[in-house]
């Protein structure tokens, strides 16, 4: 029997459809882009927001958790802030719109809106698979961002800071970045709420490292207590490319940060480090899908989580090793410090290995503060609350220290200790 079913949309789903209808007239894009947007939204409408029945969303039932779409326009008047690292080239995106006055030295940059308008963005506007809700939402609504290109052989002395600031509203941004062969650069991607007004943020960064490029990319998510942040980082690594990817979540009410990484060139190396500082009534999801697709590639993934209050979090780490990707060496670890009985963190490691000569491992720990450490500090006169704070801080600061470059380590450590001071 054939039955016509009309899926009922949730309030949030209906609001997204309605928002699209209202915005599509002035969303940037040529015919092809608008066609793609329509299709992505249509797919979203048909499948709805993902629920826990979809495996990759099992721990983050977006349909249930994401209830309300804020008004499209937040408040105006947000202005750029000082970069995390002095001397950085700052690329500002305010309320989702790129600030065209950009001073770029040693690299080229243009507003992503231009790529939408001339249609060159269309091939990137895809969902990665049928469950890619973030790809669909972002592809439908994205307005602006920056397209970055660091030429082959360039060695940028100063970091580039992408500064995406908002004061509530619907913010959909995109940051494609190509690093030419042998290029060396450090990028800080900073998402930050400047007010308490609720925001829905979606943001995708497409990072391509060509052969031998060496990049440090640091994502800092500091959204507000009422914000939903749906992030995705898409990475491809060429031959001998080296990427250090730091993902630091220190804000937001509902956060999903997806990392879709394809290691495509022999000799490539990925260092993924994650820090999740979670407090209040929040939910944060970091989902990694990492493909080691060719022989002789390496990666390490370390995720450190600290949870207070009633915060919940999840790390899903899937490593796929292709059939001919011999000599892959991948090590994943996820360590959690639970500072409250009402907080919880789930870890779901998955290894899909189709090659036989590989080293792949994963480990997860959940712990309280080490009592031996606490006693040692206290026995030297450090009061208990201060000693605890030092140890929590140490647990995550270790990750920052791995960057070694003091210019990067110091501001990250400061960000971490500021957050802990406010929440502990």
């Amino acid at each position: 029997m054939n039955m016509q079913t009309t899926t009922r949309l949730t309030t949030a789903e209906a609001a997204l459809v309605e928002a699209f209808g209202a915005q599509v007239g002035d969303l940037p894009g040529n015919g092809a882009v608008i066609g793609t947007r329509d299709r992505l939204l249509d797919d979203l409408k048909k499948s709805g927001l993902p629920t826990r029945r979809i495996e990759s969303w099992h721990y983050t039932d977006l349909k249930n958790l994401f209830r309300e779409v804020p008004e499209a326009n937040g408040s105006a008047g947000v202005s750029a802030v000082a970069p995390l690292i002095a001397g950085s080239s700052v690329l500002t995106v305010l309320q989702g719109e790129a600030d065209a006055k950009v001073h770029a030295e040693g690299f080229s940059v243009s507003a992503y809106k231009d790529a939408l308008s001339d249609g060159s963005a269309v091939k990137g506007l895809t969902a990665l698979d049928k469950d890619d809700a973030i790809g669909r939402i972002n592809g439908s609504f994205v307005r602006d961002g920056f397209s970055l290109s660091v030429p082959a052989g360039a060695d940028l002395a100063d970091p580039i800071e992408i500064q995406a600031l908002h004061a509530g509203g619907q913010i959909h941004t995109r940051f494609p970045a190509v690093f030419g062969a042998g290029a060396k650069a450090t990028i800080i991607e900073r998402h930050r709420a400047e007010t308490d007004a609720a925001a829905l943020v979606s943001s995708i960064s497409d990072i391509a490292l060509e052969d031998g490029a060496e990049v440090t990319w640091i994502l800092l998510q500091q959204q507000g207590a009422a914000d939903t942040h749906l992030g995705q980082i898409r990475v491809s690594l060429g031959k001998d490319a080296k990427l250090r990817l730091y993902v630091i979540n220190a804000g937001g009410k509902l956060v999903r940060q997806e990392l879709r990484i394809e290691v495509e060139g022999e000799g490539a190396d990925l260092t993924l480090r994650g820090v999740n500082l979670l407090g209040g009534d929040t939910h944060t999801d970091v989902t990694l899908v990492l493909g080691h697709n060719v022989p002789h590639t390496t990666s390490t993934e370390t995720i450190r989580n600290v949870l207070f209050d009633r915060a919940s979090g999840v790390f899903q780490g899937m490593i796929k090793v292709a059939p001919d990707a011999q000599k892959t060496d991948a090590k994943m670890a996820c360590n959690t410090l639970l500072m409250s009985d009402d907080a919880d963190f789930s870890v779901k490691p998955e290894l899909e290995i189709f090659a036989d000569d590989v080293i792949c491992g994963h480990g997860a720990t959940v712990s309280d503060i080490d009592r031996n450490h606490l006693f040692y500090l206290m026995a030297r006169g450090v009061p208990e609350n201060k000693a605890r704070a030092m140890l929590v801080n140490a647990f995550v600061a270790e990750i920052a220290e791995e960057l070694e470059d003091e210019k990067l380590v110091a501001p990250l450590e400061e960000l971490i200790s500021d957050w802990l001071d406010k929440h502990a």
Binding site: R371, N372, H373, F375, Y376, L377, M378, A379, R380, G381, V382, P383, E384, K386, A387, M390, L391, N393, A394, F395, V396, A397, E398, E401
Partner: protein, 251 residues
Amino acid sequence: MLEIKNLHARIAEDGTEIIRGLNLTVKAGEVAAIMGPNGSGKSTLSYILSGREDYEVTEGEILLNGENILELDPAERAAKGVFLAFQYPVEIPGVATMQFLKVAMNEQRKARGEAELTTPDFLRRVKEVAADLKINMDMLKRPLNVGFSGGEKKRAEILQMALLEPQLCILDETDSGLDIDALKIVADGVNALKSPDRATIVITHYQRLLDYIVPDTVHVLYKGQIIRTGDKDLALELEANGYADVIGQAA
């Protein structure tokens, strides 16, 4: 300075009694050596003095300058001048040694109502003491005790002791793991801290350390009690004959 009266203590977790009616008095200015076979309760005693929660005092009292300190937590005891140089100092990754030293010194000062050290004063102090103990400042740039060799850890303990200027110093097998030269340096460090208003408890198995840090009194701890007290000659006697005689006489 320190009076321990009829102390009974057990492991909090399983109730096993380790300290069984221990009496010990250490006067200001005195160096007291505690010796005793493995497992007799020496480290346990040092932990109980510094307030470790794993042990429960069921009877008796510990008086520091006449004040019962049993209700104080380890940090409060440290501020009152108790210092334990650990038998096995722990490595604490992520905690910078210098930052830790500064926090510890200043927290103790704050607790005693003294002014905090300025950074230049702090650095000057650390450099001075480190030089005396032949500790390389580069070592102190690492996280606390992380990757320090056995001997370096012991030296770092004495460095902390010198910086914190405690009233009651407890050294738990500080000589183990030290080479001959380091033993001398560490002993000199301890001796330099000797003063009429400071008491020192040296826990050791070997006369070698007591050749450098000459004790005023020597106490034998066995099965949670002090079974014999004497002067420095007692240590020599133990070195020559072992514990059998002393234990036999006490039984």
